[in-house]
């Protein structure tokens, strides 16, 4: 299992996580198969505890899905940041996960992007996440 992405797209995720620190950022990984060709920022609509939670507005998600469907791409994953927490998915992340998506988690420490990892559900059950390799595509 792996996800392929160019460095400048990873840089966009890092930048997003740093800009929203100490709140969580979130967004979509758009592309085809295991190749990310676009990173789309989404609003974190969690108004209660955005420093440790994120929600993506379903209506906004639906509109992006329609848009990328039109051009033959897919939403292949989700990214979000963990401010001052490790780049590992939490139990909460697992509980709220869907199968067949890549979940990138960015650790942001003291406002600086530190590490990014990617995970997929092991199978269609919500048993565990398996880490997948992030392979850098040539620019």
């Amino acid at each position: 299992m792996m996800v392929r992405i160019k460095q400048h797209l990873l840089d966009k995720i890092f930048q997003h996580g740093e800009e929203t620190y100490n709140e969580e950022c979130c967004g979509l990984l758009i592309g085809k198969g295991d190749l990310v060709t676009e990173v789309r920022r989404m609003r974190n609509t969690n108004s209660g505890t955005p420093t440790r939670r994120y929600n993506i507005d379903p209506l906004e998600l639906m509109k992006v899905e329609d848009e990328v469907d039109e051009r033959g791409d897919e939403i292949i994953g989700i990214y979000h940041s963990h401010p001052d927490h490790p780049a590992k998915p939490s139990q909460f992340d697992l509980d709220h996960s869907f199968p067949n998506l890549s979940y990138m988690v960015l650790a942001v420490e003291g406002g600086k992007a530190k590490e990014i990892t990617s995970w997929r559900r092991k199978d269609s059950e919500k048993r565990e996440f398996i880490q997948e390799k992030i392979t850098e595509e040539k620019e």
């Binding site: 979130c26 969690n46 994120y54 929600n55 379903p58 209506l59 998600l61 989700i78 979000h80 067949n100």
Partner: protein, 91 residues
Amino acid sequence: MTEVTIAIPTPLRVYTDNQKKVKVEAEDVENALTALVTSYPSLKRHLYEDGKLMDFVNVYLNEEDIRYADSTKLKQGDKISIVPSIAGGTS
């Protein structure tokens, strides 16, 4: 019967033979979703738990959230969208 389209989100398309949209015939939203999971039984456990729509599954009729109004009557050509509730964060 009324023919409507149900939009399937990317992560669940593997359970609908990779179809993005599925046409079903039904009079209301609840029956449309039942027709969907009858045609694609492996989809059912990703949408329902104990016979109810899971908390993490949103249902829109055109652009209206109708998660809790599943007896809503359908019109010819309506589009139902199943939209995952994407959430997470540190524990």
